[in-house]
Symmetry: C2
Subunit: 346 residues, 2 copies
């Protein structure tokens, strides 16, 4: 498999996308990798796979790499004597947060007809925004944690009992998230969250809740990961959480009943199919009183959650050969012809 | 105002986008217009404003125009001796249907930092898909017509009374829409709709329902159009409906009470703010038993509904000076620096 990895982006998670990208080099051992970096000012650079390391980016040295232009059908290197296309079988969108998870990269890859692994545009918008994820889950008959929605200019009234957790609707990776134990702490937590977003959702904070992660995709059949019970402290902050992005060896399966495992897998499939076809996602579930609740959809998990799969590289290969195809629309100008013959030129 | 008009696209509505674009030349009399055509294979062409007419496209002659490349900050003409940027104050996204209304163009303009008039990505995805529009309306406390949702592989069971109207969720302009008067006609209507989309919504068909259209935007203040009561036959087909796209002179205000007008305007504002900032949209409402129901959001109305405004050109100018700005994210590589000093190179 010749895979392009697109990473970086204008995102709060730019740096951990770099960590994710470098980690995948250790995982995709049999593949040829083409690295395409999106700088914070959104230029595309072709990065030498042999030389990639984090310092290349933090030092600014990446600017010496060849800049790429996005055209119909390919990224290309334009030079004095014409342009040369960068070849690969499929592109993996590995930009965490804005640009990658909000749908921009998917929009562009679809527009420019570049085969890509990522949630498509609609799937991105619905999973990037935690409020819209609630709408989606409801329409699919998948239960979620109870919530309230607040916009920046709304009155700051919460009707649910404390402790609560406050989350900006559009950011991943716990950025701007706070646990609020009593009403007196509410204002500060909302101030923090509204620094990052115009909208927040408020959910009950469930002490010691059982959490399980399920990743997977549909290639020509379902390929589901093990179910993981993530290690938790009371609350994972940005840095701690992101050590995940450099994980490259498999973890252990959660010690749960076959019945619970099956329920989690069924919920995953309901969320995934058909909206997320073409992508590898991770869904995080809570189990409360035996009921499975969708906590969040991670549309581009850290290092693609490679550590949850038996055969991550094989799955990537199979997925790259089974990507959804956009419907072809042929314009025949019949309508304009008919206006022209009926009324003269428009 | 120097405005760029982007039109065409890989869309069932490619041709009527051409009609819309040509119509605006008659309306934007004081402005300098730069026309950028998106061919059905998604290449960008700079079209000579003096020579634009529908035959240029139906004959394929447009291919002789200069091709443009999309880069950070501008569309540019690349030649033997370097590249030249195309200059304008703002770009109007006038691509109806796919590419324009589904969020792809907005994603790209935002990514490449080009000032543009259009619903932004999230607004596009939620208004392009009629099912998601229902979710949105519900979350805003705006009432809509009752509905049922069917996916292609669902059992074809409808619980509401006939007559019903069947609509593919993702297309505009009545494409694939059918009125079904009795159960025996259902299968055929669903076959037609599923030719165009994987999902449909089913609504009661309300004979003789009062329909009112409200267009507008927020510049530095609300700028709302007159309320129009569209001319109706039982059902508007594709060609008839699209005569609208060539309308360039103002129509009459609907003869309604001040109270109803105010209710319609309030509903419009609820839908528009803040999700649709930066765009001019038209909302189509039904009035049933004195209640305002949102029928649909038209995110890029035909010829921008110019015929509903007193001072369309002035409004366009004011809007282009009051476009929402994307939040700037600065990457300082602190995280990577801290990993490097803690653990050596990643």
């Amino acid at each position: 498999m010749n895979i392009a990895i697109l990473f970086g982006g204008s995102s709060f998670e730019h740096e951990i996308s770099i960590v994710s990208a470098i980690t995948l080099k250790k995982v995709l051992k049999k593949s040829s990798i083409t690295y395409i970096f999106v700088s914070q000012d959104r230029k595309f650079y072709l990065i030498d796979t042999d030389k990639i390391n984090s310092k290349l980016f933090s030092s600014g040295e990446y600017k010496k790499s060849k800049e790429l232009i996005l055209k119909s059908g390919a990224f290309s290197i334009d030079g004095m004597f014409g342009s040369k296309e960068v070849n690969f079988d499929a592109l993996l969108n590995l930009i965490h947060g804005r640009d990658g998870e909000d749908g921009k990269i998917s929009s562009m890859m679809e527009f420019f007809n570049i085969p890509f692994i990522s949630p498509r545009m609609e799937a991105s918008v619905l999973s990037y925004n935690k409020l819209y994820t609630k709408f989606l889950a409801e329409s699919l008959g998948v239960k979620t944690v109870a919530y309230e929605h607040l916009s920046k200019n709304d009155a700051r009234k919460i009707t649910m009992d404390y402790p609560i957790i406050i989350k900006p609707v559009r950011l991943g990776s716990s950025i701007g998230v706070s646990i609020v134990k009593e009403a007196s702490e509410l204002d500060y937590a909302l101030d923090v969250a509204f620094e990052f977003d115009t909208d927040v959702i408020v959910e009950p904070f469930i002490e010691g809740v059982k959490e399980f992660n399920q990743a997977g995709c549909f290639t020509s059949e379902w390929e589901l990961s093990i179910v993981e019970e993530p290690q938790k402290e009371e609350f994972l902050d940005f840095e701690k959480k992101y050590m995940d992005f450099s994980r490259d060896s498999q973890v252990l399966s959660a010690d749960i009943s076959e019945e619970l495992k099956k329920k989690i897998q069924e919920s995953f499939k309901k969320v995934y199919n058909p909206l997320f076809l073409g992508s590898i996602i991770r869904c995080d579930f809570f189990v409360v009183d035996g009921e499975i609740l969708l906590n969040e959809i991670n549309p581009i998990p850290g290092s693609m959650a490679n550590y949850l799969f038996d055969d991550f590289e094989g799955m990537m290969d199979r997925l790259s050969k089974n990507l959804p195809k956009e419907k072809i629309i042929t314009v025949d100008y019949q309508y304009i012809h008919s206006i022209q013959s009926a009324k003269g030129k428009v």
